[in-house]
Amino acid sequence: MPSKVVDALKDSFKDNVTVLSDNGVEDVIVLSDKKLLKEAAKLIKKIHDIVFLITVVDRNPTFEIGYVFSNYVDKSILNLRVNIMQDDLSIDSITSVFPSADWEEREAYDMFGIKFNGHPSLKRILLPEDWPGHPLRKDFKVTDDVRNWTGLDLKF
Amino acid sequence: MLSYAYAVLSRWLPYPLNLIGALIALLVASLAIVAVIPIIIGWVDRKYGARIQSRWGPTYVGPFGLLQNVADLIKLLGKRVITTNVDILSYTFVPIALTAAAFLMILIIPWGGPNLSIVNIPYNLLFIYVAMAVSPLLILLAGWSENNKYAIIGGFRGATQIATYELALIVTILSVTILSGSYNINDIVAGQSSVWYVVYLPLAFILFITAGYAVVERDPFDIPEATQELLAGWKVEYSGLRYGLFLLSDYVKIFMLSMLVVYLFLGGWNGPLLPAFVWFWIKTIVTMMILLTPRWVYPRVRIDQLVKFGWNWMLPLAIINLLAVGMVVFV
């Protein structure tokens, strides 16, 4: 069944889709154009029910956003990867297609500062609202701002 | 007891002094009872609950941990009261008033024998009921005075719950008084010398226990406190001595409830062979143990379920019961 999705993706997006199978156990589908993500998500939705996880890998200056889709029928999963550049850290939100991506996208925003366009409430989720910086980035430094952060300025 | 002390003291003392002396003796007696009840019942409650839960309960303070509640009380006395923005007048008034109500009940209830009460008044059952019934107002006042959302929710819940169930309670009590023709506990017990009222009024018995449970806020019905939802409900801002007074009045109430069950339905101090006093205490202790059990067995019901049950079942049943008793007695 997963191959069906891969075929469908290949049919729709032609050159924009490449399938990598050498760098892990599962195949990874790489989407070269981030604008196509929502279309791809709609295709994937036909087979897969949920976003299993969203992981962001900071390979400065590229940020790899890895989506893992899963379903409730069998064990199949689908790895989708989109690369975005540091100077334009934004991507379409797939919350409208996969509601389960809501908090995962917020977490990615929280930790890496990636803007998800069209997300209903893109706020920090794990860290406080006024936390300086995005800590999971490789260039995150413990500055005085972080050291002196008390959380007392936060308005409830 | 008051008249007895008055008579005894009159032998040696002139007029104003003998009355004052009698009043002091009475105060000491009631204080002793008030102090002893929470200690004993608290110990029984904790130990009994602990054994149900396969724990040991208190063991260290005193023999078998008997003095654990004394230690707790002393700890509560030493606590600082930390409050912000409370309405200090009503905040202080509520525990005092609740304790006063508890005192009142202790003063007028008979202690296991005809006329063996600290103050003898003809309508003691009615007075005890009134002392119990005063609590919804006080709970609402406490919840309001604490300036805390949890407290006011607890206060409203308490007022709703107790107002609902007190109606059922008084209607049930009425059926007993119709049967005995008196508001005096002594007469009610005397009326049961041959047959206990539980035989005549099994429905009223069950209704009384259930409604009484809800009125004294014992654990399946401790919705106004609801530790897991509302922290401590209307008690949330209380600490120190004021909180200790609440504990005290709680224990007095559950004790009063078991005594009332014995007086109204289980024949009071009537019984063969053994002296009346012993019979009464055996019955009371057994009743109290049974009343203490549901706390450890049942989860807390929800307020809407409880209120619905109260209006849909308790009150109609109580009224039907009352009508039936009235028909049988008067027709």
Partner: protein
């Protein structure tokens, strides 16, 4: 919380019923909830960042505190990720030991659930009873591993120690007792208790549709009637050779979520018994260097832990530490359901539904 109508009530982060530091902001109208928001992150300790600064062998103590009521399963999950990435085959005895430990931990975790659910609907006795049984398993785990809550038993390539010789004499009576207690005493206290049923039946219904919408997994999903278990469909450890049922319930309310856990305890006991019978002899550990170097690759491992499908996605770059470790927490997805199912219910239901989802904030906030 756009338009405030009634009273805003902050429930948590410091509240006895929020299982740690979950925070709910409820908009109340009387006793009824108009709107509710979930806030998490009060226990965030930056575990994913910590992983990037530690050798593969040194991350175990931290992974222990992810889901601190099922720490062994967390250790096993992380060990599986590292071993899959490094291509380490662990000896069969280690596989079986890990299976046994994972199931012991699942029972312990579910007992905590049973206890805290009982407590949150107001039955203190259930709490004490469940912890009484858990304590016996704790003793076994302590005898095996030396630790209780955070055992530090699993390491790369197997386990730190072999099982003690009298292991089955220690564990079997405990399992028998737990089975007896769960089937008799708990049934009396919970399943046959009218008030308990009144409080938990048709409360907080998470139906199939909502499950699929939010990505809920694990017992919460099975309570809605979806039969799915990673142990069954994608067997890891020794689950392929075990016979067990995947219990499902239909209603999806708090009561079914409770029943699922009760039934899973029984299934776990079955699995442990089988694993103890089949426990192969041999080495319990494959010697693996303390400092591993793992080539650049992406590794994803899913396990069915006590809370649901937990996964770790590890990116390595050829160094001695992970380049990026993403932890997929099952409860992170389940908690969002609170915002949907609690609207229109009562305050008292909040605690019942929170407890029925079984959140452990250490794992949600990471």
């Amino acid at each position: 919380m756009e338009k405030q109508k009634g009273v805003i009530l902050n429930i948590g982060p410091v509240h006895p019923a929020t299982h740690g530091v979950l925070k709910l902001i409820a908009d109340l109208e009387g006793d009824t909830i108009d709107n509710i928001k979930v806030e998490i992150g009060f226990l965030h300790r930056g575990k994913e960042k910590m992983a990037e600064m530690r050798y593969f062998s040194n991350y175990y103590p931290i992974v222990d505190k992810l889901d601190y009521v099922s720490a062994l399963q967390m250790e096993i999950l992380f060990a599986s990720v590292v071993e899959k990435a490094a291509g380490i085959e662990i000896p069969p005895r280690a596989v079986y030991i890990r299976t046994i430990m994972a199931e012991i931990q699942r029972i312990m975790s579910h007992l905590v659930f049973v206890g805290s659910f009982g407590m949150d609907v107001g039955n203190y006795t259930g709490f004490i009873w469940a912890f009484r049984e858990r304590e016996e398993l704790m003793t076994v785990v302590e005898a095996i591993s030396g630790g209780r809550l955070a055992p530090m038993y699993i390491c790369n390539g197997g386990t730190f120690y072999d099982l003690p010789e009298n292991f089955s004499y220690m564990l079997s009576p405990v399992l028998d007792r737990i089975e007896k207690k769960v089937k008799n005493e708990y049934a009396t206290l919970f399943q046959k208790n009218n008030v308990f049923i009144m409080r938990s039946k048709s409360v907080g219904i998470i139906d199939k549709q909502l499950v699929k919408q939010l990505g809920i997994t694990g017992p919460n999903m099975r309570a809605a009637g979806i039969e799915r278990d990673i142990r069954r469909i994608d067997p890891y450890l020794a689950y392929e050779e075990m016979e067990f049922e995947v219990p499902t319930e239909e209603d999806g309310d708090a009561y079914s979520r409770f029943l699922i856990r009760i039934r899973e305890i029984i299934e776990s006991i079955k699995i442990i018994r089988q694993a103890m019978k089949k426990l192969p002899a041999g080495s319990y550990k494959k010697p693996v260097p303390w400092l591993l170097k793992i080539p650049a690759k992406y590794t994803l491992v899913r396990h069915e832990v006590s809370k649901g499908e937990m996964a770790m996605h590890m990116v390595t770059d050829g160094g001695m530490m992970p380049y990026r470790l993403k932890i997929r927490s099952p409860t992170f997805f389940s908690l969002k359901a609170l915002e949907k199912v609690l609207v229109g219910s009562r305050i008292a239901d909040i605690v019942a539904v929170i407890a029925s989802i079984d959140p452990v904030m250490g794992e949600v906030d990471r």
